[in-house]
C-alpha cells in the first residue's frame, strides 16, 4: 500500500533482529559497566549492592554473565554480517571511507558557518560509523583482556604476572573510554541533540520519519526516490514489506 502523504511516511531503519541486538548490547554494556566499576571503586555509592556481605561474588557473577551475553552477541553479529544478505548490505554501508572524513570536515565547517550547504548523508552518517568502529575496537580490547582475567589460572600458566597486570590496566582504561564515549557521543546523537531530543526512537520503532530522514540521511532519501521512480510502483512503505525493502533501504 502506498502512502502518498510524504510527511506520514516511515522509513525502515532497524529490523526487529537488529533492535534486539542493540538492546542486548545496551543492557549487557550497562551491567558490565556497573559491576566493573563497582570492583574498581568498592567504596562508591553505586557499589553498595555488592558491599552487602557475600554479595561481592554476585558482582563477579553478573559481570561474567553480562560478558557472556556480550561476547555471544558479538559473535552473532559477526555471523550476521557475513551470512545474511541484510547483514552484508549493512557491512557495505558501515565500511569506513575517505568520504567520512570529508563529511566530518564539511559538517564542522557548516556548523561553524563557514560552509553554506549542509552535508547530505547516506544510510550511515560519519558519527554513526565512528560509533560503530569505536565499539568494535572497544569490544576486541575488552574481550581479549577480559578473558585473560576471567580465566586467570590459564593465563597465569602462559604469561608472566605483569601481562595480567597490564591487561587489568587496559581493561580499566578502555572501560572509561568506552563509557565516556557512550555518554558523550552516542547519547548526544540519540538524546541530547536539540533536533532529536528527547529521544531518537528508531531503536524502539525500527523506523525514521520523513523529517528525520531529511535531516540525517538526505542522500539516502534521494536514492530511494530515484529507485521509486525507476520502479514506478509509487512510494514504498518500507515497513510493510520488510524483507524485500530491507535490501533496498540499505544497499542503494
Amino acid at each position: 500500500m502506498a502512502i502518498d502523504d510524504y510527511s506520514q511516511r516511515r522509513y525502515l531503519r532497524w529490523t526487529t533482529g537488529e533492535r534486539i541486538q542493540h538492546w542486548i548490547l545496551a543492557i549487557s554494556f550497562f551491567v558490565l559497566g556497573i559491576t566493573g566499576f563497582a570492583l574498581k571503586f568498592p567504596e562508591s555509592w553505586w557499589a553498595w549492592p555488592f558491599r552487602i556481605t557475600g554479595s561481592f561474588d554476585l558482582r563477579g557473577l553478573l559481570h561474567r554473565i553480562a560478558a557472556t551475553f556480550y561476547i555471544a552477541l558479538s559473535l552473532y553479529h559477526l555471523a550476521y554480517l557475513v551470512f545474511t544478505q541484510r547483514g552484508r548490505a549493512q557491512w557495505r554501508e558501515l565500511k569506513p571511507r575517505l568520504r567520512d572524513l570529508l563529511d566530518l570536515k564539511s559538517q564542522v565547517l557548516y556548523n561553524l558557518g563557514w560552509l553554506r550547504v549542509r552535508p547530505k548523508y547516506g544510510h550511515y552518517t560519519y558519527w554513526e560509523k565512528m560509533e560503530y568502529w569505536a565499539l568494535v575496537w572497544g569490544t576486541v580490547i575488552m574481550v581479549l583482556t577480559g578473558l585473560a582475567l576471567w580465566f586467570e589460572n590459564i593465563s597465569l600458566r602462559i604469561f608472566p604476572l605483569w601481562v595480567l597486570d597490564v591487561a587489568t590496566v587496559i581493561h580499566y582504561y578502555e572501560a572509561i573510554l568506552a563509557t565516556a564515549a557512550i555518554l558523550v557521543w552516542h547519547f548526544y546523537f540519540v538524546i541530547f541533540d536539540p533536533l532529536v531530543y528527547p529521544l531518537n526512537t528508531s531503536m524502539i520503532s525500527g523506523s525514521l520519519t520523513q523529517e528525520q530522514m531529511e535531516e540525517e540521511h538526505a542522500e539516502e532519501l534521494e536514492k530511494l526516490a530515484e529507485m521509486e521512480e525507476e520502479e514506478s510502483e509509487g512510494p514504498i512503505d518500507l515497513l510493510k514489506s520488510e524483507k524485500e525493502d530491507v535490501v533496498r533501504g540499505v544497499s542503494v
Partner: protein
C-alpha cells in the same frame, strides 16, 4: 660462759611460749569472735563486723594456723581494741617483696589510698588456694577481683590509670570468653603476673615490649618459635623498636580469634588494620627503608579491591607472606621465595606451573613491570583525553549550530 648464755636463751623461749600458749588458742578467740553480732567502730565512724566464721576459716588454706600467728600483736586477753594490720610478709616474703616493687607498691612512686593490700585481692580469714575455683584469685575469678578497682571509673580517674576499661574489654576477648569454658585460658595474672605487676615500660615487666613474645609464648609455644625466626623478631632484636610483637597485630585485652570478622587479624581486615599502619607509613618508610607504595599496589589489585568490598576469600597479606614467621623473599624458608611461589600461589590458584615464579608482585617505581604499566596508563590517558576531547568539542559546535537553526526557524532571526 657460752653454756650459760644458751641456757638463758632456752629459758626465755620457754617463758615466752608458755605465755603465748597460756594466752590464746583459736578456741579462746572464738569465744568472742564467733558472735555474728560482734562489731567495732573504726576511726572514720564506720561499723565493721569482727565476726570470724569457723566454717570459712576451716575451709581456708590457713586452717591449721592459730589466730595469733597472723594477729601477732595479741599477747594477752582481752587484747587492745585496735590491732595492727596483719603482716602477710612475715611468712610470704617473696610475694610481699614483689608487691612492694610492683605498680601496686612503689613502682609508680605514688602510693595511693586505693593501692590494694594483700587482703583486697586474697581476702582475709577465708583465703582459699589459688587452684580452688572459688578463690578470689582463681583464674576464673581474677577479672572480677582485679575489676573491683580496674572497672571502677572513680578509682581509674583518681589514680590516672591509662587503661580505662581493661576488664570489660578482656571479657569480650577470646581469652575472656574461654575462661568460662576451660581452665587454661589466659587470665589477668598469666600476662601481668600476680604480685610483680609492672608497667610495660619497665624492662623487668612481663608485658615489656621485648618480653611480650615470651609471655604469650608460655601458652602459644609453636607460634612463639615461628615468630622468633621472623623478620619482625629479628628487626626488634636489632633495635628496631617499631617492629611488631604479638600485641601490635593482635591487640591486648581485646584479642579475638582471626576467624572472628571483628578481629583486626581476620582475613579482610589484615591489610588495612594490621600491615598498613606500619608498611604504608611514610614515617616508618623513611626510617627503615620500606616501600609504602607496595601497599597501594595491593589495594588496587584484584585481591585488594575484592577484599575492600568485603570478599574474605581473596588473598590478603598473610596468605602469601605468612603470618607469624614472615621472612624476606630472599630467605628460602619464605613462602614468597621464588622456589616456593608455585606452592604459595597454588594454595588458591589450581594447577600452578613454574610460570608462577616469574610473577613479580607489588612492583613500584623503577621496577620494569611498574614502568610498563605506567607507559600503558599514560598512552590510555592521552587516548581518552584526545578522543573524548574531540567528541566534546565536536558536539558543542554541533549543539550551538543546531540551536541556532532552531531559533532561526522559530523566530526567523
Amino acid at each position: 660462759m657460752r653454756r650459760c648464755v644458751l641456757m638463758f636463751m632456752i629459758l626465755m623461749w620457754m617463758i615466752g611460749s608458755a605465755r603465748l600458749l597460756q594466752a590464746q588458742t583459736r578456741d579462746e578467740c572464738q569465744e568472742c569472735h564467733s558472735d555474728p553480732e560482734l562489731t567495732t567502730g573504726t576511726e572514720s565512724g564506720e561499723e565493721i563486723s569482727l565476726y570470724v566464721a569457723d566454717s570459712l576459716f576451716d575451709a581456708s588454706v590457713h586452717a591449721d594456723l592459730e589466730c595469733i600467728d597472723c594477729h601477732a600483736d595479741v599477747t594477752e586477753l582481752p587484747h587492745d581494741e585496735r590491732l595492727k594490720k596483719v603482716d602477710c610478709g612475715s611468712c610470704h616474703e617473696d610475694a610481699a617483696e614483689a608487691v612492694a616493687q610492683s605498680v601496686h607498691g612503689i613502682e609508680l612512686q605514688v602510693r595511693s589510698p586505693d593501692s590494694p593490700t594483700c587482703a583486697d585481692c586474697h581476702g582475709t580469714h577465708d583465703i582459699l588456694s589459688v587452684t580452688d575455683p572459688l578463690s578470689r584469685v582463681s583464674k576464673a575469678n581474677q577479672p572480677k577481683t582485679c575489676g573491683r578497682c580496674h572497672s571502677d571509673p572513680d578509682i581509674i580517674a583518681r589514680n590516672k590509670i591509662p587503661m580505662v576499661a581493661p576488664v570489660a574489654i578482656y571479657r569480650g576477648s577470646i581469652h575472656g570468653q574461654l575462661t568460662q569454658e576451660r581452665e587454661d585460658a589466659a587470665t589477668c595474672s598469666d600476662c601481668h603476673r600476680g604480685h610483680l605487676i609492672l608497667t610495660p615500660l619497665n624492662p623487668k615487666s612481663s608485658i615489656f615490649k621485648l618480653a611480650i613474645p615470651k609471655t604469650c609464648g608460655r601458652c602459644h609455644e609453636s607460634i612463639y618459635e615461628e615468630y622468633e625466626i621472623s623478620v619482625h623478631a629479628e628487626a626488634l632484636r636489632r633495635g628496631a623498636r617499631d617492629a611488631p610483637v604479638c600485641t601490635d597485630c593482635h591487640g591486648e585485652h581485646d584479642i579475638l580469634r582471626p576467624e572472628n570478622p571483628a578481629a583486626p587479624t581476620s582475613g579482610f581486615r589484615v591489610p588495612i588494620e594490621v600491615c598498613s599502619p606500619c608498611h604504608a607509613s611514610e614515617r616508618l618508610a623513611r626510617k627503615y627503608g620500606l616501600t609504602p607504595a607496595r601497599v597501594k599496589t595491593y589495594k588496587d589489585s584484584y585481591h585488594g579491591l575484592a577484599l575492600r568490598a568485603g570478599k574474605a576469600t581473596v588473598a590478603n597479606c598473610g596468605s602469601c607472606h605468612g603470618v607469624h614467621g614472615i621472612l624476606p623473599s630472599s630467605d628460602p624458608r619464605s613462602p614468597i621465595h621464588p622456589d616456593n611461589l608455585m606452592e604459595t600461589c597454588g594454595k588458591c590458584h589450581p594447577n600452578p606451573t613454574a610460570n608462577f615464579a616469574r610473577g613479580r608482585v607489588h612492583m613500584v617505581g623503577e621496577d620494569t613491570e611498574a614502568r610498563i604499566i605506567r607507559i600503558v596508563r599514560k598512552v590510555y590517558i592521552v587516548l581518552i583525553i584526545t578522543v573524548i576531547g574531540f567528541m566534546v568539542t565536536h558536539n558543542v559546535i554541533d549543539f550551538v549550530a543546531k540551536a541556532k537553526r532552531i531559533r532561526l526557524a522559530k523566530y526567523g532571526n
